[in-house]
């Protein structure tokens, strides 16, 4: 039978790996943020980060970010092997400071959006996105 056991096993292995690696992965995210901010303080909130609470498909998760007055927004997936997803730069002629994309998530993890504001300050919002086997809702 095609239970697509391989797929689910990969997912399961991801979940197991996550439980043993959170510190190292989080540290990797810190590094990326430091590189983006130059070590400046980052305020919590002030960036809108839209992502599903539970991903319908971990291979393609829709994510939208916006922050009024931002010159750049960086998106990180802290639990991925390479946490840096994208950095969106907004020029002076940008009609709005918002962007949407789809990202692949290796398992349940925090997605982070860090915005560089026009005045040089930084703001950050985090959202936990769950990647699940599913199948028992009722």
């Amino acid at each position: 039978m095609e239970f697509s056991r391989r797929d689910t096993l990969v997912l399961g292995a991801g979940a197991v790996a996550l439980t043993s690696l959170p510190l190292r992965v989080a540290a990797a995210g810190e590094e990326e943020i430091d590189a983006f901010t130059g070590g400046a303080d980052v305020a919590e909130g002030g960036v809108t980060l839209d992502a599903p609470e539970i991903a319908e498909n971990g291979n393609t998760v829709p994510v939208s970010v916006s922050a009024e007055g931002a010159t750049a927004i960086m998106v990180l997936a802290l639990g991925n092997p390479n946490p840096d997803v994208a950095t969106f730069n907004f020029g002076e002629l940008s009609g709005s400071q918002s962007a949407s994309t789809r990202i692949r998530l290796a398992g349940t993890q925090d997605v982070v959006a860090v915005a560089k504001m026009g005045d040089g300050s930084f703001a950050k919002t985090t959202k936990n996105v769950k990647v699940t086997i599913g199948g028992c809702g009722g």
Binding site: T8, G12, V16, E53, E56, G137
Partner: protein, 598 residues
């Protein structure tokens, strides 16, 4: 009665505390929560009036031997200028059934010990329900078989029709709202691809509807039915998966003019359809909670002059509670999905949450006083559909019989008998699931069986025949093939942890609203207070008594896989073969799950 007042009082007191808290946090954008105390007291006074006038007390206090009448059940002093009628999660149960409410229904995080996570005697004490009374039977689980002998079956859409007609006689323009899970769950529904329920519901004349299991008919069939409906099909959270835009086949909301008030009803479909059910059956659609968009919809309808905002929701109760605390401006949430039946509304801020049960067992009537652009008061009644007390509506009874007639012989064939009460509801195993797991283990020669933790499926009493219809009522679905697969002990653990987190994640937005996957052939211990990965321990193979080895392979049989291309016999055939061999079903008590509630 005194206890019940106390119960409601504590709900209101909590609301006051919450409002005070919101005032002191001084968060921006909370203007609607910061109502003056005087305004709030008007709402709460209306609530007190509801307690005094509620018909709930009348039928709840009747002793078992006293005759319950249709007039008792329908008694309601029409109130205000708007009436809502809510029915949800019918799961294609057109005929009277038995339905045992859960014994174990654990709340976690902020919902620990809060309704609907209160069962049995605690539930009766909370609402002042007398032991042995009709509402004991209707709303709690214990003494079920004995009380069922006294009070009989519940539900039946012809009885529901009688109740709806009576409400419409009081208030001809009452708004009937169907919360979804309507076109799924029976032999006839499966064989007509939902058409039987569409036809019967048409006879009840709903005013709007939202969705969940309907999508497991496949998106093409859903669109075909929706195009022909005489009322709006709604879901502000139903999106086009490709473009991540609202799906045009489904309305966000609809307006009604009633009693001089403009009423907006916003739809909210089940958020986790492609996760809890097979997404490959409706790949064009994406869902999600999308409470940011819900706020936009509320603001939009208010800007268009809505005096009252109602959300017809299939979120599940705890998700609705959280949504009510985050989205401002919703007056009433008609809550579905988690199959809870609550005899009084739960107040979150200024939002009323109404839970109307499942399987056609209850109808909620909510009368509202809507004036000056806001809800000023309410009166509510959860009406239990006692099938032997409420006269069936002849017209709808004829529609139901017409739908069933072509399948009569198949439906009525007796496959076996049960010595035990067969039921499903509860966070862990029910006896129906024990029977299904036994069938999977013996018919599929497996070590371990898995059965999905769905919340639908009526009950059978000890001594009842088991007909083919009864078997289909607990397993009918469009992806019911019974797989047989090898899984490592480690992978079985991952599955259990994953499902447990869908049920016991302390944040309701991460819950999917089903119960725990049912397991046969294996015992385990679960600590619901722990995080994912640490809840499940002591997994034991029951036939040997040995601990499950993470590295070893086990043969697992199950059904309702969300994966495309699953092979195996249909689950109803597996169960039928097993029951036939048994003749009379006798189940050993299942003590294989040890639950740590914290």
């Amino acid at each position: 009665m005194a206890l019940r007042r106390a119960g409601l009082f504590s709900v209101l007191t909590n609301s006051i505390l919450r409002i005070c808290y919101a005032q002191h946090t001084g968060k921006p954008g909370k203007a609607r929560i910061m109502i003056s105390r005087r305004d709030f007291l008007q709402v709460s006074m209306a609530a007190s009036a509801m307690v005094g006038a509620s018909g709930f007390g009348n039928w709840s206090k009747l002793a078992a031997q006293q005759a319950l009448t249709q007039d008792d059940l329908l008694q309601f002093d029409t109130f205000g200028n708007v009436s809502l009628i809510h029915i949800t999660d019918i799961h294609a149960q057109m005929k009277p059934i038995y339905f045992r409410e859960p014994e174990i229904n654990l709340g976690v995080g902020d919902n620990r010990g809060a309704v609907p996570h209160v069962t049995g005697a605690d539930f009766r004490r909370l609402y002042g329900i007398e032991d042995g009374s009709p509402s004991h039977y209707a709303l709690t689980y214990d003494d079920f078989s004995a009380l069922a002998q006294t009070y009989g079956r519940v539900g039946g859409l012809d009885r529901v029709a009688t109740v709806i007609n009576a409400i419409r006689a009081d208030r001809p323009d009452a708004i009937l709202l169907d919360g979804g899970d309507t076109w799924h769950g029976s032999y006839t529904c499966y064989h007509t691809q939902g058409q039987d329920m569409v036809n019967v519901m048409d006879a009840l004349k709903p005013d709007a509807m939202t969705f969940h299991w309907e999508f497991t008919l496949g998106s093409e069939r859903v669109r075909e039915i929706v195009e022909g409906l005489a009322f709006p099909a709604m879901g502000q959270n139903i999106f086009d998966a490709e473009w991540e835009e609202p799906a045009e086949e489904f309305a966000d909301y609809t307006f009604f003019e009633r009693g001089g008030a403009k009423i907006a009803v916003i739809g909210q479909a089940f958020p986790y359809m492609p996760i809890a059910n097979p997404g490959w059956m409706f790949p064009e659609y994406s869902f999600g909670i999308r409470d940011g968009r819900m706020q936009q919809m509320v603001d939009e309808v208010r800007a268009q002059g809505a005096d009252l905002v109602v959300v017809l929701s299939h979120n599940g109760f705890d998700v609705d509670k959280k949504m009510a605390s985050r989205v401002e401006g919703i007056d009433v949430i008609l809550s579905g999905h988690t199959h809870d039946a609550l005899p009084e509304p739960v107040l979150v801020g200024e939002t009323l949450l109404i839970a109307s049960g499942s399987n056609g067992k209850f109808v909620s009537r909510v009368d509202l006083d809507v004036r000056d652009g806001r809800m000023m008061g309410f009166r509510h009644k959860l009406i239990p559909i006692f099938s032997d007390v409420i006269e069936p509506d002849k017209e709808v009874a004829a529609v139901i019989e017409a739908e069933r007639a072509p399948f009569k012989a198949e439906l009525e064939e007796v496959i076996g008998t049960t010595d035990d009460l067969l039921y499903r509801r509860g966070n862990f195993n029910g006896t129906w699931d024990d029977l299904i797991c036994d069938a999977l283990i013996s018919e599929r020669e497996a070590d371990i069986a898995m059965s999905p933790g769905v919340r639908w499926g009526p009950s059978l009493l000890p001594g009842d025949p088991i007909t083919r219809e009864d078997i289909w009522n607990v397993c009918s679905m469009t992806y019911g093939r019974a797989y047989r697969s090898e899984m490592t002990g480690e992978f079985i653990h991952v599955i259990l942890e994953d499902v447990a987190d869908n049920l016991f994640n302390p944040d309701p937005y991460y819950q999917q609203g089903g119960d725990m996957v049912r397991i046969g052939g294996m015992g385990y211990r679960i600590d619901v207070t722990k995080p994912q990965g640490e809840r499940i321990t002591d997994m034991t193979l029951l036939k040997t008594g040995e601990a499950i080895d993470p590295a070893k392979n086990y043969v697992v049989a199950g059904w309702a896989s969300v994966n495309e291309g699953t092979e195996g016999p249909q689950i109803w055939d597996v169960i039928e073969d097993h029951v036939r061999k048994q003749g009379t079903v006798k189940l050993d008590p299942n003590n294989s799950v040890e639950v740590v509630r914290g």
